[in-house]
């Protein structure tokens, strides 16, 4: 039994999987860089209305979000099925909007504090009364730049 005799067999050599981790790592790094973590879990249903005259909301560091809509099914037992406001991870009342905006504003860098935009992510079926109240609260703390976040599509889709 010599060491130098090659084993000869008719089998195909196995495909090397040694580079598989490298490929996967490459993908991994791509997604790590491209990821923006969702900072709050949605507790309200949030089917946004559609519009086509939209502007992009770049620069996530100067945006603060206010969600509103009917509570999701699993929260309906506790919170009822009337539309509610969600700030960060909690349900909130209209009066909490002002303090929330002030707290968020204070947590941002000095130079961003005057250029903040408030993005309203409101479910399409919400009544305007709630939104009017939110807007009044925002005016009280002079958070005047707002953005009605929408999906892109024809506005006629909203009517059915």
């Amino acid at each position: 039994m010599s060491k130098f005799v090659k084993k000869k067999s008719g089998d195909l050599p196995a495909i090397s999987t040694a580079s598989l981790p490298d490929i996967v790592f490459m993908l991994l790094f791509f997604f790590m860089v491209a990821t923006v973590m969702r900072d709050s879990t949605l507790m309200v249903s949030n089917v946004l209305p559609t519009a086509d005259q939209v502007q992009k909301l770049d620069k996530k560091d100067r945006v603060l979000y206010i969600y509103a809509g009917k509570p999701s099914i699993r929260y309906q037992e506790t919170y009822g099925d009337q539309a509610r406001i969600q700030l960060n991870d909690k349900f909130a009342d209209v009066e909490d909007v002002g303090p929330f905006v002030l707290a968020e504003r204070a947590s941002k860098r000095q130079e961003l504090q005057n250029v903040l935009t408030t993005a309203l992510k409101v479910d399409g079926d919400t009544k305007m009364g709630l939104i009017t109240d939110i807007k009044q609260e925002l005016r009280k703390v002079s958070a005047l730049k707002i953005n009605y976040t929408t999906r892109v599509g024809s506005s006629a889709q909203n009517l059915n």
């Binding site: 997604f31 005259q53 707002i146 009605y148």
Partner: protein
């Protein structure tokens, strides 16, 4: 003869990497949000609001059944943009109030000049947000259509519409030099059709 050190099995490396990969795949949101930008009026109101003539106001009402009333006529949403353009572009003014670039019908009962024309939007507390957004969208579209027209007329060599130019201006990836070039042009067109969209103060009586 030294004892052989056993190789660490690297076969599970791929599994670990996959696990991480799947985690990041799930948490990723690549798309950016978009929406209609608005500016709210400041809280401290003027003591005596400026007097606006009835003919310069374009009134849009949404009732609690989500029906539209435009200038006291029931209207469908699809017609709203056309009506708003007609109103804004009317330009019936004379002398100091005249509008040289307007192409409207110069109807004496409608607005004198786009700079004077105000669109007033009022909605019931029971009306739905979807309809509100649809109405906002159509009104913004009316302004954008007119601005596009003028932008193309005045700066034909740029080969883009007002909206495209505005998007380029807002895009952080574009050159500062291009933006500085665009800014005065955008502003001049903006000035021709200033967005005067006023929303009614919520009346105290209807709040509960």
């Amino acid at each position: 003869m030294p004892r052989k050190v056993a190789d660490v099995n690297a076969g599970s490396m791929a599994d670990i990497a996959f696990l991480l990969l799947i985690f990041f795949l799930v948490t990723t949101t690549i798309e950016t949000d978009s929406g209609i930008n608005r500016k709210l009026p400041p809280m401290d109101q003027l003591d005596d609001p400026p007097e606006i003539k009835e003919r310069n106001i374009f009134e849009v009402l949404v009732n609690k059944y989500n029906q539209l009333l435009v200038e006291e006529n029931p209207t469908q949403l699809v017609d709203l943009r056309e009506l708003a353009i007609e109103f804004l572009d009317n330009g019936a003014g004379e002398g100091e109030e005249s509008c040289v670039y307007c192409q409207g019908a110069k109807d004496p009962s409608s607005s004198v000049n786009p700079e004077r024309a105000v669109i007033s939007l009022k909605n019931d507390r029971e009306s739905s947000y979807k309809v509100y957004i649809a109405v906002q969208n159509e009104l913004v579209a009316a302004y954008n259509d007119l601005r596009n027209r003028e932008f193309l007329r005045i700066y034909p060599n740029l080969n883009m519409t007002y909206v495209e130019a505005q998007n380029q201006y807002d895009d952080p990836r574009f050159d500062v030099e291009i933006k500085d070039n665009l800014k005065p042009r955008l502003d001049s067109v903006k000035q021709m059709y200033p967005q005067k969209l006023s929303e009614a103060e919520p009346s105290k009586a209807s709040r509960n």
